[in-house]
């Protein structure tokens, strides 16, 4: 198996192409620059001044809630949507002047979009057989290439099935093989595992990572699953309402979120409206002694459920009442209601922590936290 893969390392150029104007050599990963891209449907922009640089060979995740513009950004890159303003560069060259066909991009759709009237083999071969006769590889070469790809996506033996005769995960892999067949310069995946169950998702995730390591394509994939993004991507781009909230490695995003939104979207977090007065942090009228300083004014205090301690009677904690308690993975989660305005926060305590009753008073002291301008 390994040897077969080694032989099949991408990118293999199938045939030396005659020099074609305005075409990059196939398969060579290219970097992508997105500058101030705006895309407006009707009135509300789906993309709002999006700027982003993706290195050649990088695996980037676009993460964001539904409707945040992930698919739209991917479609702009593929040339299926034209931005209202802004620039898109592939390898330093303007891409907006290129048609979809000329961009040479592998796109895997949210719905797979397989050709139902064609067998798996012809689906994967389509990008090659669709080439003009001048640059089309020979039948034998196409066949070799398709079989090689079937091997890569672990579907050997299914080449004569029709897409309707495949499971969801298999269709997904056919869609990927079809996109890889043209040796794209950029691979775009729109929620590649969206419709699959958790176990299959995890398997395919690991497998996609391996394929990326073998093929080395510049890859952008869309997901709204933070776990998937954290596990797979070199860098994560967090989108919210058409704007980039943060770009960074999974560690950076997790440990240094740029906004309360990022903190709540990647990992769990609670937020409290606080203010700084005379260099001290207050929630309503009670001081919180966590050593926060800064200019006077309203802030949002954000912390993760597990980054807290319960100081007991020691003053300076955030005082509240427990309103619910439940098991949460390895620990026990408490829902706590704070102060007059009944803010809710979540905290984790060890599973062996003494059980508490509804209405019990607790004092919570964040050990790791972020303050954002409110």
């Amino acid at each position: 198996m390994e040897a077969a893969f080694a032989d099949a390392t991408f990118p293999t150029v199938i045939e030396p192409d005659p020099p074609a104007p305005r075409q990059w050599s196939r398969g060579v990963p290219v970097d992508v620059t997105i500058e101030h891209v705006v895309k407006a449907f009707a009135e509300t922009p789906a993309l709002h001044d999006v700027s982003l640089k993706i290195e050649a060979g990088e695996l980037v995740a676009l993460l964001g809630p539904s409707g945040s513009g992930k698919t739209t950004l991917l479609r702009v890159l593929a040339g299926l949507e034209f931005p209202t303003s802004g620039r898109v560069l592939f390898g330093g060259e303007d891409a907006l002047g290129l048609s979809v066909q000329e961009r040479h991009i592998g796109f895997v759709f949210q719905s797979y979009a397989l050709f139902k009237s064609m067998k798996v083999f012809d689906n994967i071969a389509f990008g090659l057989t669709a080439r003009p006769a001048r640059t089309r590889p020979s039948r034998a070469k196409i066949r070799d290439r398709v079989l090689e790809l079937l091997d890569l996506v672990q579907l050997t033996g299914l080449e004569n099935r029709y897409p309707t005769q495949l499971s969801g995960g298999q269709r997904q892999r056919v869609a990927l093989a079809r996109a890889l067949a043209i040796e794209p310069r950029i691979l775009l995946l729109d929620e590649p595992f969206g419709a699959l169950d958790a176990k299959v998702r995890r398997d395919l995730r690991r497998w996609l990572r391996e394929i990326h390591e073998q093929t080395g394509h510049t890859t952008v994939f869309v997901t709204h699953d933070q776990e998937e993004a954290v596990e797979l991507a070199d860098r994560i781009v967090v989108l919210n309402r058409g704007k980039i909230e943060q770009i960074g490695s999974p560690d950076e995003i997790y440990d240094r979120p740029a906004s309360p939104f990022v903190a709540s979207f990647i990992g769990e977090s609670s937020a409290l409206p606080v203010r700084i007065e005379d260099g001290r942090l207050f929630l309503d009228d009670r001081p919180i002694e966590i050593g926060a300083t800064g200019k006077d004014g309203p802030r949002t205090l954000v912390f993760r459920p597990h980054d807290v301690e319960l100081p007991g009677a020691r003053p300076g904690g955030i005082a509240g009442r427990i309103i619910a308690e439940r098991r949460h993975g390895a620990s026990r989660r408490l829902d706590v209601e704070i102060g007059m305005r009944r803010h809710r926060i979540e905290i984790d305590v060890p599973a062996n922590h003494p059980r508490s009753n509804k209405g019990d008073r607790v004092s919570v002291l964040p050990t790791r936290w972020w303050l954002f301008d409110a």
Binding site: L80, V100, A113, F115, K116, S117, T164, R178, A181, I182
Partner: protein, 282 residues
């Protein structure tokens, strides 16, 4: 066909009531379709083989049948091509008056065929609007087979358009976009992705238009001129025989039409089944 083989109904479904539904279907079809047709064949059978053969091989009968089926095939073929284009435009493009145009497509269904025939004749007669333009070029449409084909195109168009439209609307845009990202031009995408899915409904539309054209009488007799051996269609020949009180000849021609139609429709159905298996794996 019936004896010796075991009867297997296709795919017994989990939905109950198959027996009832099947029985009803059979009874209904028998009453409405099969019994009248059987009566026709029976009438012809009473004619005796030599007499039947004499009528069938009569040059006038042959000419009428040739014209009827030739013109019908031509009209259905032309409708298949242009109906495809009309349906495509109606489904894919948004332009002012699209809904209105869409409604026009059904008019040939609704119009009494005699009205259509008279209107077409008035237009294409040598002194009509279109006829007078064609006359100087030496093209005669009214009172020729060409006129018959035009009338048959008129009445057959809705069948093609209306069978194609729903299937076209179902075509997934992302599939076309996928083809584009893989480097396929619009034309190649149409030919290799879209056309195969449209082939089964296109054949259905063709078959319906053909069947309708073969049986058409009202609109054709006005524009045809009805010259024996030139522009006399088979349905008209039947009426002519009836007015001559020559019932055996009338039924014989009718039976011939029935046989040929059945053969044609069966052939189209077989092609369709094949193309569904080949292309329409949905």
């Amino acid at each position: 066909m019936a004896s010796g083989t075991t009867w297997t109904f296709r795919k017994p479904s989990i939905i109950p009531g198959f027996g009832l539904a099947f029985g009803f279907t059979l009874t209904y079809l028998s009453l409405i379709v099969l019994i009248p047709l059987a009566a026709l064949v029976l009438m012809t059978a009473s004619l005796g083989w030599p007499e039947f053969w004499r009528i069938a091989s009569d040059p006038r009968t042959l000419a009428a049948l040739r014209l009827s089926f030739g013109a019908s095939l031509a009209a259905a073929g032309i409708n298949a091509v242009f109906g495809l284009i009309v349906a495509w435009v109606l489904v894919r493009y948004d332009f002012p008056g699209r809904r209105l145009l869409d409604a026009f497509v059904d008019l040939p269904f609704a119009l009494p065929t005699a009205v259509a025939g008279i209107a077409l004749t008035a237009l294409y007669a040598p002194n009509g609007w279109i006829g007078s333009l064609l006359a100087p070029l030496g093209i005669k449409v009214a009172y020729t087979p060409a006129g018959i084909v035009i009338a048959l195109i008129f009445i057959g168009l809705p069948f093609v358009v209306r069978t194609l439209q729903p299937v076209m609307e179902e075509i997934d845009r992302e599939v076309e976009e996928a083809a584009a990202t893989l480097g396929a031009s619009r034309f190649l995408t149409f030919r290799r992705i879209i056309l195969p899915t449209l082939l089964p409904p296109l054949l259905t539309g063709f078959a319906l238009a053909l069947a309708r054209a073969v049986g058409e009488y009202g609109s054709v007799i006005f524009i045809a001129g009805n010259i024996p051996f030139v522009s006399e269609i088979a349905p008209l020949l039947i009426v002519v025989r009836l007015t001559e009180f020559n019932y055996p000849a009338a039924t014989a021609v009718a039976t011939l039409m029935l046989l040929i139609s059945f053969a044609l429709l069966l052939a189209i159905n077989l092609i369709q089944a094949w193309s569904r298996r080949r292309f329409g794996n949905v």
